[in-house]
Amino acid sequence: MPLLSLVTFLPVALALLVAVMPKEAARSGALAASLVVFAASLPLWFGYDPAGAEYQFVEKHPWIESWGVGYHLGLDGVSLLLVLLTTALTPLILLAGFSGVHEKYRGYAALMLALEGAMIGTFVSLDTFLFYIFWELVLLPMYFLIGIWGGERRIYAAVKLFVYTVAGSLLMLVALIGLYWAHYEQTGAWSTDLGDLLALTLSPDTQKWMFAFLAIAFAIKVPMFPVHTWLPDAHVEAPTGGSVVLAGVMLKMGTYGFYRFAMPLFPDAVTAYGPVLIGLAVTGILYGALVALVQDDVKKLVAYSSVSHLGYVMLGLFALNAPGVSGAIFQMLNHGVSTGALFFLVGVLYERRHTRAIADYGGLTKVMPKFALIFMIMTFSSIGLPGLNGFVGEFMILIGSFQYAPMWTVAAATGVIFGAAYMLWVFQRMMFGPLKNEANRNLPDLSARELTYLMPLVILAFVLGIYPQPFLDRINPSVERFVARMEEHFDESPYSCGNACLPSWLSKETH
């Protein structure tokens, strides 16, 4: 059975079904649909053999033969986890939408399912043309989710998201077409297949511009500093579910793009431009954390924290060694869990009080103890407390990146201080202290339904933190192939690192 096609297109088909369902059945129908998709994706986890081939569940058919475009799907350990993250988050999002989405739930759920399919498509495509189509398709449901179900400035936010992404997409398209052309020049045949393109030998100069174009497109999606400003607006205006899917999955399309396409296709450009990207990643870590620190709006704070967290992922990818890259991939999962949960929690409060201003809260622990406990667990997960998920990824990334970019790593590690500062401060302002605001006195604690969609994330935060190895076992072989490919292109160190390397006095000789 073509399992990958099934998992990709089942949500789209079910989206159409949900869209025409009777209104009364829409909620349970949509939830059931997403659970079916999740169930359909489980065989991927159990069927995937970590010691097996590079890509598994491969489907390869000619599609537009005259252009050399193929329908080529496949799954490595990295895509496997991202697909499962997507299929696992979607039911939770739809469940959360039961109360948050008051109007047009059917449309909301249908778009969410369509979005799920498109995102899965980007994670399993091994043909650049196919990838590009899925990449673009993701944008449309997201645009409508924000534009229709969003907050007051939803149009501004949606347009901003669109402008940014389209600008990136155009650059990506140019690079992909360039690559397509290069393949024709070298082999005399047209092909958009990733495998064919990886076999090309490109001059460093060609690699550089193509990499740069792709990197900008992906960097916007991540988002990296300084192309991150669409994110806070999109998050603030998006409905809760939109924020969760945005932070939980969509941002990973950017980092995944680096891992799957930009870096393996242009390894020489990676060693040339790596330091720039590392610099931007670290800037993003600190910048995101510092700006998060001064927010008055809790949702914006979480949004900026995403900029910071994704900076770690980028740093890990460009560490170009096993712990760094595996840590980066693992951190993508973590971020989906922790930040996804934080957006859910913000949504819980927003539904009750219709405000995101931190100053409107305070002392909530007294009235919402269960909420407070889960919020606290996720706060500590987000700031990388050992024993929870965030630590594993962060530590592996940093110990990896220290090898080739030690001073940048030290700068990045200060992020753990600022991370603790902004999260604990917002937690204190919202949850501790006296209950100042009368309007909060009778807030109900988490309902059974709310607990149902939060608990899986809480449990995952612990499992990923205490027993991450089953996940790492699936990531590692794929990452090792990636690292090996990169290592072919440098000897001692990928980067002639300038002042990012250790100062000269720190040599091993005795002084």
Binding site: L140, V159, K160, F162, V163, V166, A167, L170, L173, V174, I177, W181, T229, L290, V291, L293, V294, Q295, A322, P323, S326, G363, F380, L385, P386, G387, V392, F395, M396, I399, F402, P406, V410, A413, V416, I417, A420, A421, L424, W425, Q428, F432, G433, P434, I466, Y467, Q469, L472, I475, N476, V479, E480, V483, W505, L506, S507, K508, E509, T510, H511
Partner: protein, 667 residues
Amino acid sequence: MMSSQLVTLVPALPLLGAVVNGLLLQKRASRVVAGTIASVMVGLSAVLSFMALAGLMGHDAAPLEAHLWTWMQAGSFSADIAFRVDQLTATMMCVITGIGFLIHVYSIGYMDDEADKDSVWRFFSYLNLFIFAMLLLVMGDNFLLMFVGWEGVGLCSYLLIGFWYENDDFASAGKKAFITNRIGDFSFVCGLFLLYWSLGDHATLNFHKLEEVIAHHPELVGGIGGVVVTAVCLLFFGGATGKSAQIPLYVWLPDAMAGPTPVSALIHAATMVTSGIYMICRLNFLFVMSPVAMATIATTGALTAFVAATIAVTQNDIKKVLAYSTVSQLGFMFLGVGVGGFVAGFFHVITHAFFKALMFLGSGSIIHALHHEQDMRKMGGLRKYMKLTFAAFLMGYLAIIGIPGFSGFFSKDEILWLTFITPVFDGLPFGTVMPKVLWALATATALLTAFYMSRLMFMTFWGDYRGASHDAHGHGHEAHGHKPHESPMLLVLPLVVLAALSAVGGLLNLPHWLPMHGSLHHFLDPVFEHAHVAFPEDNPLEFPLMVLTLLGIAGSVAFAYTLYIKDPTRPAALAERFRKLHTGSLNKWYVDELYQAAILTPIYVTSRQVLWAIVDAQVIDGVVNGAATLAQKAGTAHGRLGGGKVQVYAIFIAAGAALLATAYAVG
């Protein structure tokens, strides 16, 4: 002898207790039920810990090891969830669970406030969780598991300092503790990255393997006096300054007194704050390779000890005095390990755990009896009303000021003496003067200690009770009209045990001029086999210096006596005469204010006014919005399509794509 796997139970039991109280029972557990569950768990852990300790007494007893599972692995990087219990670890385990047990029992009596009735289960759950984390810290066989404990105790400290979270100041104190510790942790992990990197193909996070690698390949970290090993050790020590409250990161500990008093005794005196010293002892084989790092540790320790003591002399809150005293005593421990006396420093960890836990619990007994009064100016004469508390407290007092025979005397005197004769700094600039200067600073601190502790004793236990008159002035506490009374037995019993330990704890490690000397030294020998420091023997100054110190201490006590008992008006007069010094000390030398003005405010203002308001909102968004407006105008110019703009963009995408494709195809 104990099986290796049984060792796993030592941390598992308190974790179980935390889960039972914190997740299963919650409000259903009353104070007595929750407290009993928690105490039993820690008590069982203590029994197992002492069994482990006994098993390691033998001449060639091997460390106990238990491997649970591979935690994380990628490429050659890996870390396990695994325990390794050697002599050092076992001793710490006994201190943690032994004193921990006493404090758990004490807490059952202490946390009887009606207002805490519904949250006391939380208290015991956190307390158990703390013991669990502290045990991970000392039992972990690798850096990463130690770090779980290291940050885990920080988490529990955060939760317990802010236990009464409805008080914003208390919540702030918890946050301050955590973030200040994170600064130290940042330093610690950087040291770890550097160490791991420097080992290259031999890289490991396992302590035992690391010790072997360093023994065989000292050149990997630059050999003795190497720059890498110095940097690594200094960065590790940076971590210790956070957790163990040394300059410049000590500022969180006095604020941490916001937590319930048993917490101050357990976490902020006896166990968690000694983690830094434990860590240095654990890594002794690295630290001895760097005289510069050792000198930095010793100097920081001595300075911290002195500065904290100068603050303690003017504080009026009994817990603040004890807090600064703790910072000061921790400085002594660092001085000890810094001069190469690892066992001496560690011995002071143990005796300090006895007498400081005792004094914190004693102050708790007073605070409990006086209904949350902590101001010593409103105490006085308590020895008449709280005879047992007084007698117990007295043992702690005699121990900390170093009266011969009491535990503190032996540990402190050994540190002072080793400081005086240390050979560790010989090769460094000022290497011969430094020991004498540090000795002088430490001795001055010992005198200050005798003074401020005497002041505390006299203000609290001597004179007349001043609390009643305070009430008579009409602050509305009429219920306080009665005299203070002795605390219930649950509070007093742990005090008695700790008092006994404070009195005779010195037996653990008697000095070389007494029979049966150096037991702890011999026991810990295997741990420090690669860190032998050759202290010169038979120095004729040893006894004269000891006598000199003792005379100074007697003088300090006498001085405090004249000030606080003979003529209670003199302190005020003295304060007036040295007004600047007095206000400076009273206000903790304005260090918090300095940090606020020099670090915190600039970060906040820059982030808000520059990064967010200018870079994000104006520079970047300026460009983006400009582009968007342009695109919108273009869209409008070409006519509206169904009112939605997305179609316009969709067309743009397609058109642009086609255009570019053609361009490339042709070009």
